[in-house]
């Protein structure tokens, strides 16, 4: 099957699933016990105010009518009004999403850039001191939740060592670049403002690292055991027996097959990444869409909650498709299996 057909099939399935997701969220938000309007306004609000809000949110109408209105609005670019910011949720999201995207992308890049080399080296030098340290650290690392890492980081780096600044996306005394994509790193590169670029990265490092540390631990482990297993496989021994130089062997013939289990796991790890972003953004007070989401959840801002969940679903879906594509590129057998299926 050609790549394009593969992508198309996945995309259409994804759209279907996201639709289902929107319905699910909708049902959950409206059907579960508790009056959303009452929850939003608090127990002391007068009844007429609650009733007003109910009218506004169309809560009194049948479920499918509510969904219809929501869908219609969503497709034309409006996601309802936020109770907290009093703006259209779509506008809120446009403001906050780039910060989260920067964070998640950097975390994913850090993850790959660190986990794979560490795993490869540990695997090549199995049972060396390096390998043993890696194995222990990665086992523990998986058990440390991202928000714990975040807190420890703030403690250690922010206060004790005073290295990386821990507030906001950019220092107050730096001039922010004009907004093109909303991603400060990219924007500053576009406008040639190198100072701002480095400042932005400095602010990004800690939260991104906090997010990715657990994942690095897990993926380094998987890479390592994959390498160890492959080293004794006949096809590697055969390549050695033909005198292929070691560099080529490791970086080409050993790397590719060893990556497959790791990349496959990355899909699920992206879920952790996105989920943990909610907590990490909260701790670092990072102005991203997840922190916005937490605030919405605490304040029972219905429209915002629904929108944020959908965004999370979309990001996750995109990440999964990307991962599947990479795996299919790495392992040609998968492409053929799809064809036969």
């Amino acid at each position: 099957m050609r790549m394009s057909t593969f992508v198309l099939k996945r995309l259409s399935y994804t759209v279907f699933v996201l639709f289902g997701l929107s319905i699910l969220i909708f049902i959950i938000a409206r059907v579960l016990p508790g009056d959303p309007a009452r929850l939003a306004l608090g127990p002391r609000a007068p009844d007429w105010a609650v009733e007003n809000l109910r009218q506004q949110l169309r809560l009194n109408e049948p479920l499918y009518v509510q969904y219809f209105y929501w869908l219609r609005d969503a497709l034309s670019g409006s996601l309802g009004v936020s109770l907290v910011t009093r703006r259209d949720v779509m506008v809120d999201i446009q403001e906050f999403l780039p910060a989260t995207v920067e964070l998640i992308v950097l975390a994913a890049l850090l993850d790959m850039a660190l986990a794979i080399p560490i795993g490869m080296v540990a695997g090549r030098r199995a049972n060396s001191w390096f390998d043993n340290v890696v194995r222990v650290l990665s086992y523990v690392g998986v058990a440390v939740p991202a928000f714990v890492v975040a807190i420890i980081f703030i403690l250690v780096f922010g206060f004790m060592l005073n290295i990386a600044p821990s507030i906001g996306r950019i220092s107050p005394n730096i001039v922010a670049p004009p907004t093109v994509t909303g991603l400060i790193t990219i924007d500053s590169l576009i406008s040639g403002n190198i100072v701002a670029f480095f400042d932005a990265v400095a602010h990004l490092i800690l939260p991104a690292l906090a997010l990715s540390l657990g994942l690095i631990a897990q993926e380094a482990r998987i890479t390592r055991s994959s390498v160890v297993e492959n080293l004794n496989k006949d096809y590697i021994l055969s390549t050695v027996s033909h005198g292929v130089p070691e560099r080529l062997l490791t970086l080409k013939y050993l790397l590719k097959p060893s990556l497959i289990p790791t990349v496959s796991v990355m899909g699920l790890d992206m879920a952790s990444l996105i989920g943990n972003a909610f907590l990490v953004e909260l701790i670092f007070n990072w102005p991203g869409v997840s922190r916005y989401g937490i605030t919405a959840m605490l304040r029972k801002d219905l429209n915002a909650i629904v929108a944020v969940v959908m965004i999370a679903g979309i990001i996750f879906a995109i990440a999964n498709i990307a991962v599947d594509l990479i795996v299919a590129y790495l392992d040609p057998r998968i492409r053929m299996i799809e064809k036969a299926a």
Binding site: F16, V17, L18, G20, L21, L24, I25, I28, A29, L32, P33, G34, P36, L39, Y139, V140, V142, A143, V144, P145, F147, V148, I151, I152, I154, L155, G158, F159, M160, M270, A271, S272, L273, I274, G275, N276, F278, L279, L282, I283, G293, I294, A296, M297, L298, K300, L302, I305, V308, V309, A312, G313, F316, A317
Partner: protein, 265 residues
Amino acid sequence: MVGLGVVLLVAFLAIFASYVTLYPSHAEFYVNFPEAREPPNWAHLFGTDQFGRDVLTRIIFGFRYSLMMAIVVLSLVVAPGVVLGLVAGYYRGGKVDMAIMRTADIFLAVPPLVLALSICSVLTPSVFNAMMAVSLMWWPWYTRLVYSIASSLRNEAFVQAAEIAGASPFHIIFREILPNCLGPILTKMTLDAGWVILIGASLSFVGLGAQPPTPDLGTMVSDGAKLLPEQWWISIFPALTIVLVILGFNLLGDGVRDMFSAETV
């Protein structure tokens, strides 16, 4: 083995918390400002928090809620999830399969923490609601796990032999296919205990789970976070405890997995 030890210790402490700890009343509403914010000392091994409550005591009481969460969620989730997976796997390729797995896919389309947070956000925050919320969204993992095993076993010779012999689907599913899934299911349950506790802690960290003055590991971390770095012990000790509990379940889970794979050797 170590994992088993850790888990049993936690369980023991949780059950007998009132007898084991020095200041059981600190777990409730208790205020003692003169003794507040004390760093770790001999009277209070982990120090006291901003209200003067002994941190160690509250952590031990917090175990109760963590374990309760794990037990409740898993008992609610495993049975239906597994049954659904078995049914979907057995009737593979049919409408039943599609209906069940598509629904599972929809639940799984969103990162678990996000889904848990959003469900909790539309309910009144409480420990009970947190447990219900997590139960609601945790089942698909088991369905998917069992589905992949069941559907691959579906066409094995022993299943077809049973069919030819006239066994009912009920019998086949529960007496032929299910036993083959037990190993992975039990392993997953053990590991999940740790992850469920983590999600519970995350929920209360954000404020959507246990409410004050209930001692919960997540709330303690969150409360203490505001007081960093001077009174670091209020936040760090509960955080480390969470790590230990998860580690314990991970080790135990590995042990369970080894136990089942050793049998097949």
